[in-house]
């Protein structure tokens, strides 16, 4: 029987990777992973490196490590831990420019930046695994490192080296819905441990059509410190404090309120759009609901219009086009889109003028407003990482 890492072990492992950015001594990683170093040979682990920066300021830094299980409960197993990326590249990766995606593991569309980093680390990981034949590989990451870990887990599973378990904390989405669905099926829903605070902005990006693994699963939803989006709630010390000594089963038992149908999304939007309804400015729960509602509207729009390939347009261009065309064809979608626009404007502290015309350009403006705000907060959270 294979043993999963505990939330505390996985969290400390994710946290421990940051020490390797400035240190090439594996002891510095092992000190942070106090609950895991008795199970894994972290001190004798293989530091993974990558190039950060461009041109004359580029340099090689540590991006994580590979360590093997000691005799005991994790003997014969392997640990792959990935840290988040340099802050200088975070903005690029989280913005619309790079959201278009590339062909990743299995030919599915995944985020270009995360796949680029994963592709650089995979040969080092595979070299380290050569001749070891582990029975199980635990892949762990926080923040952008969690998204990269997701793609590494996918590639390792596809290479049939070993069974794979994936653990992420505050990770953004790594691939589009088809990818998330396939990866969930391949790894098995119960082998994916995704923890996130409801107030952490980073897991909210990139937006649709990107999706989290496990697909269509709330995973381990953790209550953030307050009601607003919080950069502190993205950081590993906060995650470690939230998971404490709980088990994954305990963490999975908390389920957030959600919108499980288009009609539910429609009702929530109608209420949120009203000027005198509940205050939703920068509310993390409201943002979550808006993004859920957007997903349902896009699904409905896709059923009516059909999804075209993303092509060269930015995702926001594409979403605005899709929404506008469906607004013209469906009264239900038109009403939902108008309410969604009003809700988004209220979330950003604005008001929808009475009688405003819903045009493609206006939808695009409002979506950009929302995505820019979420991305800005997410980038700010990532910029706090070492």
């Amino acid at each position: 029987m294979t043993l999963e890492l505990t939330p505390k072990q996985a969290g400390e492992i994710a946290d421990s990777t940051y020490a390797l950015r400035l240190s090439d001594n594996m002891i510095d990683a092992a000190v942070g992973a106090a609950s895991a170093r008795n199970d894994f040979e972290i001190v004798n682990g293989q530091r993974l490196t990558g190039i950060t920066g461009v041109g004359p300021v580029s340099r090689t830094t540590g991006f994580g490590y590979v360590a093997f299980g000691k005799s005991g409960s994790h003997q014969g197993e392997c640990l792959v831990a990935i840290r988040g990326t340099e802050k200088s590249s975070a903005h690029d990766w989280m913005t619309n420019v790079r959201m278009a995606g590339v062909s990743g593991p299995g030919g599915y569309t995944v985020h270009a930046g995360f796949w680029n980093l994963a592709s650089g680390l995979l040969p080092q990981i595979q070299r380290t695994l050569r001749g070891r034949n582990p029975s199980l590989i635990h892949v762990v990451g926080h923040s952008l490192g969690g998204a990269t870990a997701t793609l590494i887990a996918d590639a390792l599973h596809r290479s049939s080296i070993a069974a794979v378990k994936l653990y992420t904390f505050g990770a953004p989405r790594a691939g589009v819905e088809l990818h998330a669905s396939a990866l969930t099926r391949n790894l098995g829903r119960r082998n994916i441990y995704r923890a996130y605070h409801h107030t952490d902005p980073v897991p909210m990006v990139p937006v649709f059509p990107y999706a989290h693994v496990p697909y269509q699963d709330e995973a381990c939803w953790l209550q953030g410190c307050g009601k607003l989006l919080s950069v502190n709630d993205h950081l590993m010390p906060t995650y470690l404090s939230s998971v404490g000594d709980q088990s994954w089963g305990q963490l999975r038992s908390a389920q957030p309120p959600t919108l499980d149908t288009f009609e539910a999304a429609d009702r929530w939007l109608a209420a949120a759009a009203r000027v005198n309804s509940i205050p939703i400015i920068l509310s993390a729960s409201a943002l979550r609901m808006i993004l859920w509602a957007l997903r349902w509207i896009l699904r409905k729009a896709g059923e009516i219009i059909g999804y075209a390939l993303l092509g060269g347009a930015t995702i926001i261009d594409y979403l605005a086009k899709l929404l506008y065309r469906s607004v013209l064809q469906s009264i239900a979608i038109a009403r939902a889109v108008e309410n969604m626009i009003a809700a988004i404007l209220r979330f950003t502290g604005r008001t929808l003028a009475i009688g405003a015309r819903i045009t493609e350009a206006f939808i695009q403006y409002v979506l950009e407003l929302l995505f820019r705000m979420v991305t800005a907060v997410a980038v700010r959270a990532i910029n706090q990482l070492p």
């Binding site: 000190v31 919080s230 709630d233 700010r380």
Partner: protein, 155 residues
Amino acid sequence: MFKRLVLSTLIVSLTPIAGATMGMFSELVLFSEVEGVVLKDGVPVEGAEIVQEITYEEPSKIPAKTVQTGADGRFALARVTTGAGLSRVIPGQPSILQRLMIRHNGVEYEGWRHNKNSYELNSELAGRSLRLICELANAPDFEGKHYGICRVAPE
């Protein structure tokens, strides 16, 4: 003037985000104050050199500091801080590599290694003061979230 306007706009726009202004004007603690004693087989060691190294940005901007133990083997290191500054408007997750090396009779001992992941005072030991007993006869080893020959003194 323009710069000031941009900065004030930035701060105002950040204010609604939870925690944005917390710690804005406070110090960031890179290494909490340390009180320790160096022993050799239980006997206080006089004149041992304690070298404190901190790496938290590259290239490291914190010069190494050296103190010597007194006749009773004791040493003390003041806390090392840096100003919060505008670049630290939002409290974040640091990674501060701490190291104490002990030099005695031409031998260098690994006293303390720790990755401090918070700017809070005494976060090294989850709120406890850093009081260390460094026995030169010890082999360096892990204790909690630090490594070296120094052990945390009982409370």
